[in-house]
Each structure stands twice: as structure tokens, then as C-alpha cells.
């Protein structure tokens, strides 16, 4: 018998070592998130997953699950906070959804729709972030980076390459390429790398793909992100520890 905690009135079982986010997703409960990825260690930077645990706000992706916690997620207070965070992300970078090739496949956009964020609400910073188009097959459009570090984690943990890193602090924090020239062409990144697959927004792009996927069949055209995040989350693990739901997730 595993222990349980309460999430928005539902009883959620958990295994030792699971976070609130992992346990919730495994049990089929969605908590909005951006920097959390089922295949990587939680990072806790975007704060989209903030919930109230026993009355105190905390990031559910890093919060270890404990017996009898009272977790509140889908309440207006938390959703209002999430809307503000999404608005700040939109204002901080240069996100022009209508002309972004990641439109329809972008987690930030999908979250915006899901949380019903209709206006930015903040003054746009319009940062100047030139592209890195130096690599023959891969384009970096830093304008859209939300600093989730998924690419950093994927490149080092899975690809063993360390192509990406974050530099600077606070508002000047930004993604850099680990090469003396600072250019992607001088790294050993490859199209098949995990780092190519994890960016939740439209920063790391295979070149010349653009808008080849028509409107209507893009990932979030049919079902909202809240429904799909559950598809990706590890549910029941089999005896060997393999998780069916993880396969094919990206």
C-alpha cells in the first residue's frame, strides 16, 4: 500500500522518491509545467507548476511527495499566478506566434491558450537576440528561449556533449553555445541529438523544415496541452521498470 496525498480533493498515491508532479501525472492529474520533462531530473525554474501545499506555495516538480499533504493546483489563485508567469515569459522574449514555425507545437503557446492568456499584460522588453544560423543543418533562434535548461540537460546527460549552457544572471541570463567562437557550427551537435528534441519552444530548430506541417495536424491543434501532458507522463511501470508511456515521448 503506497501512501497518498490530496490533490484538489482527489486522493493521489505515490511511491517513495516521487515528486508531487510525478505522482500527480502518474495518477492522471495534470499540473501545468514547462521546464519539467518526464525524462529529466526536475529543474524547478519556470515555476509554472507552482501549487499550494498545506497552504504554502511551492514548485510541485521539485516538491517530494509526502503522506497526507493537501495540494491545491487547479484553483483560481494558482491559475492567476500561472497566467502572470506566462505573460512575463511572453514579454521577456520575442514571441511572434503568427510567424513562428513552432506555432501549434509550442508548449508556451499551448499553455497560454490553455490558461486563457489573451494579452501580454506587461511591457515587452524586445530584447535584441540575433540568430545563430552558422550550423548547416540547425538554427538557433534565441528570441524564444525561456531558459528552461532542457537542452542543457539533454545535451550533457543524454548526448554527452555539453553543447549548451546558461550564462549571466537575472534579466541578462541567456543561453550560450559552448564553443570558443560561441557559434553552433563549432560544436559537435547533430540532428539526431536529444537536445534537438526537447526545446518546448522554437529555439532549436532543424533548418529548412519551417512550416511544412499544415495547420490542423500540429500537436496542439487537436487537443489542449492539459490532455496531452498526461500522454507523456510515466504511468504504471512494469516489472522491469520500463514505462510504456515514456516511449515515443519527446
Amino acid at each position: 500500500m503506497s501512501d497518498t496525498f490530496q490533490l484538489d480533493g482527489a486522493t493521489v498515491p505515490f511511491e517513495p522518491g516521487q515528486t508531487v508532479m510525478q505522482a500527480a501525472l502518474a495518477a492522471g492529474h495534470y499540473i501545468p509545467h514547462l521546464c519539467y520533462h518526464p525524462e529529466f531530473k526536475p529543474h524547478g525554474s519556470c515555476k509554472l507548476c507552482t501549487v499550494k501545499v498545506n497552504g504554502r506555495t511551492t514548485a510541485s516538480c521539485t516538491m517530494p511527495a509526502e503522506a497526507n499533504l493537501n495540494v491545491e493546483s487547479n484553483i483560481e489563485e494558482m491559475n492567476a499566478l500561472r497566467r502572470t508567469l506566462v505573460q512575463m515569459l511572453f514579454a521577456e522574449g520575442n514571441h511572434f506566434c503568427p510567424s513562428c514555425e513552432k506555432s501549434g507545437n509550442c508548449m508556451l503557446q499551448a499553455l497560454g491558450y490553455d490558461l486563457e492568456v489573451h494579452a501580454t499584460g506587461f511591457r515587452h522588453l524586445y530584447p535584441d537576440r540575433p540568430l545563430d544560423a552558422s550550423h548547416p543543418d540547425i538554427l538557433l533562434d534565441f528570441n524564444r528561449c525561456i531558459l528552461c535548461e532542457l537542452c542543457v540537460r539533454a545535451s550533457s546527460e543524454v548526448d554527452g556533449k555539453n553543447v549548451f549552457a546558461l550564462a549571466g544572471r537575472g534579466i541578462t541570463k541567456h543561453l550560450i553555445v559552448n564553443a570558443e567562437s560561441g557559434l553552433l557550427k563549432d560544436t559537435n551537435i547533430a540532428l539526431s541529438d536529444k537536445a534537438m528534441q526537447v526545446c518546448p519552444v522554437g529555439v532549436i530548430l532543424p533548418k529548412r523544415v519551417g512550416f511544412s506541417q499544415p495547420v490542423g495536424v500540429r500537436r496542439y491543434d487537436q487537443r489542449p496541452i492539459s490532455a496531452q501532458a498526461l500522454d507523456d507522463a510515466p504511468r504504471q511501470t512494469d516489472a522491469s521498470g520500463n514505462c510504456e508511456a515514456c516511449e515515443g515521448s519527446s
Binding site: 503568427p98 514555425e101 544560423a133 529548412r208 519551417g210 512550416f211 495547420v215
Partner: protein
Amino acid sequence: MGNNLETAAHPENLRRVAIDPVSRVEGHGKVTLLLDENDHVQQVRLHIVEFRGFEKFVQGRPYWEAPVMVQRLCGICPVSHHIAASKAMDMIVGATITPTAEKVRRLMHYGQILQSHALHFFHLCSPDLLFGFDSDVAKRNIVGIVAAYPDIAKQGVLLRKFGQEVIRVTAGKRIHGTGSIPGGVNKNVSIEERDYLLKDVEQIVTWSRESVGIARKLFEQNLDLYNNFGRFDAHTLNMVRADGALDLYHGGLRARDMSGKTLFDHYDYGHYWDVIFEDVKPWSYMKFPFLRSLGTENGWYRVGPLSRVTQCDFIPSPLAEAERKAFLAFDGGKAAGATLGFHWARMIEMLHAAEVIRDLLHDPDLQGTDLVSTGERQERGVGVIEAPRGTLIHHYKVDENDQIVRCNLIVSTTHNNQAMNEAIRQVARQYLDGKKLTEGLLNHIEVAIRAFDPCLSCATHALGKMPLEVELLDAEGGRVDRLTRSSSGVFE
């Protein structure tokens, strides 16, 4: 500074006044009439600030983004930019596009022509045309048309809607679609989508034909006014198919001078800069293109439906071709040179678009699956189409990293820049009485501007009147009078 005063007989007697375009009333079209020392309207300036910055904005972006991004350039005919940029990018990727890709794009483009022409004629112009230019402003709007001519209003709405549906099916969305991509398209037209459009298309052809009849009747009822209103002779520019037929998607450039002499024909638009040059003037952000062989002063020309319908050798669809012949023959050919002839020509094109859409829908190539092609990568790409308002040129240079390094666009309304000034000048000469700006004059100036269907935000308010500011300057540059009208029809 005394040079370049394009229409002045004695430029030395005119004083040039630099007018800060920012001073124009927000969202208003602004027209300056300059008098000469004898108080005749000598020069007209329609101030346009709409097209700034885009060519800079697109620099550094990856080329495959351009066809989608450029739609933001103009909320009024985004599909035209989408397709023109795609054609330029076809050249960049070295593609010869597949029959399916070309036909899906054509369908999208003629859908745009249909919806744009319907919007213009029924929503924006029919109040002026059906009630008269000087009729009660309160009634002279689309709401008034719905009340007085419910059938015509309904027809206009449904024609436009059909065009928008053609766009949605081919581009994926009604606005900011993504259907056309470098080297082809990202989707074909499914059998269900085809059948969905096919069920209404015969009705659309019929209504389009009736619309040509309405335009004709307007001429018949007010022959003198329609033939002579804002009339002027102009050189023309348009694209034609290899056999001389009207083709709004692809062809070579044809230019004729006002006497009808051909200046160039079937000209490969990949080198348009050898025949068309752009002039800049200190009082406008908008460029003034001219035909190089005729020079800066005299080389301006007219584009759009009137030029296309009168200068093509034939229209390759039977109903529209019959209407073209009737238009050219009408009143000894007079309507075909009239500024208000734009409306008639526009309706003939709308009929042609409806016929083309119908024929394409019956073409099995639309269901083809060979959507994209590529070839040898090029550095420079030029894409030209005949957009609803006229020839549209997109020109890009892309570096080895796939980034756009240079972009030049000549949009239809820019081609018509000087022609619009000329039309307003004729109207001002006809209707300016003394040194006082009247509501009547302003109304007539609006009708002249509207005939060209410029893609200016002031000219495309679907409801209400064109917000317009007219000012009258004397030969010394001093302001004699000023009159503005808001979109609710209030004069100040």
C-alpha cells in the same frame, strides 16, 4: 529642391513644404492639394506611411519563415504576400513546383481575389456607388445597403465568405495560414474539402456574373459621370501568361504607354529592376516606381484590375472573356479608360476568379501528393503575382546560412502611388471651387482614392466612411484651408 515636382508646369513658382507625415491624423488618409499662383490645383500628395520597416524587419530571418511572416505586412491582403514570397523562395530553393503545388496555390490566390474584390465592391464601395457620392452620409454605408438592397448585400457577404473558405481550405486558416511554403505547399485539397467548396461554386459563379451586371448598370445610368470622373491617361503595367492571357498567378511583365505602344512584353520578372526603378521623394515614405525607359518624371503607371483587364489579350474563362469584350466595347471604349472603370474591371476579374476556382475544383491534381520540390540553391529570389490591387513584387537575397540579408518589396498600392495622385488631381480640378474645401470635394476625393482599392488602413474600414484629412496649400506653401472627416462621417 525645385526639381522633381512631377506635375508642376513651373516648379520654380511652387514652394516645397516638408510635411511631417506623423502629423497626419491617426488612421486618416491625408491628402495635400497644392495650388499654383493662379489658384489651380497643381499638385496632389496622398500621404501614405503604411509600408515602413518591413524590409528591415525581415533581415536576418530564415528564408522559409518569410512566406508566413510577410503576411503581417498587410492585414488587408496577407495571402498575396504569402504567395509572392513563396514564389521568391521557390527560386531560392531552386524548385520547379509540382502541378499539385501550383494548383493549390492558384486556388488560394483566386480565393483571395474573390474575397478581396467582393469586400471592396460590396462593403466598401457599393454605398457610394448605389446611393451616389453626395448622398446622406448616415445612409451611405453597408448598413444602408443592407436596408435598401438586401439581396445585393447578402450576395456580397456570401461571395466574400466563399473566398475566405477557399483560403482556409488551402492555407489552413482564414488568416495567417501557412499553406504555401518554399518549393510548394504543405497540404493538398482533400476530396471532402473539394466537395465542401464544390457545392456552392456554381452559385458563386452566377452571383459574380450578376455583380458584373451591377457594375455595368452603374455606368449606363450615369454615363457622363462614370466615364469622366477623375479620368486621366496612364501607362500600364501588368503580368500576362505566355499566350497573352490574363493570369494573376504567373507570367511575364507587360508595359504599355498611354498611347497603347508596348514598352516591354513577357518580360522575365526575375530582372524587374532593369525595367522598373523606384524614386524617393522627400515628402513621402512611400517609393515612387517608374518605368525606366520613360524616366522618373513621366514613367509612372497604373496597375490593378483596370490595367489587367484592358491590357491582356484575352481572359481564359468564357464568361469573364465575354464580359471583358463588352467592357472594352462599351461607349466606344470609354469606360475602359475611366477611373471608375476600375470597379467594372474588378467585377470581371471576380467572375474570372469564380470560374477559375470552379475549374480547379474539378481538377484531380488538387488531390495529388507530390507537394514540394527542391533543386539547386540560389542566392536571389524574385516572386511576382498580380494581387487583387495590382502587381506585387517580392525580392530577397539569402546568404549561405539561409538568412535573408536583403529584401525589397513593391506592393500594388505603391505602384499606383502617382496614379492615385493624378486621379485626385483631376477630381480636385473638377470639383474644387475657389479656395474653400467642401464636404462634396472631400467625398469625391474619397471616391477617386477608393477606385484604386488602395491597401491603406484608412481606405479599408469596412464600416463607416474613410477617415480623411484634406488640406489646401497655396503656391507659397501656406495653408488656405483644411477639412477632416472621421470614420463616423463627422466633418471638422
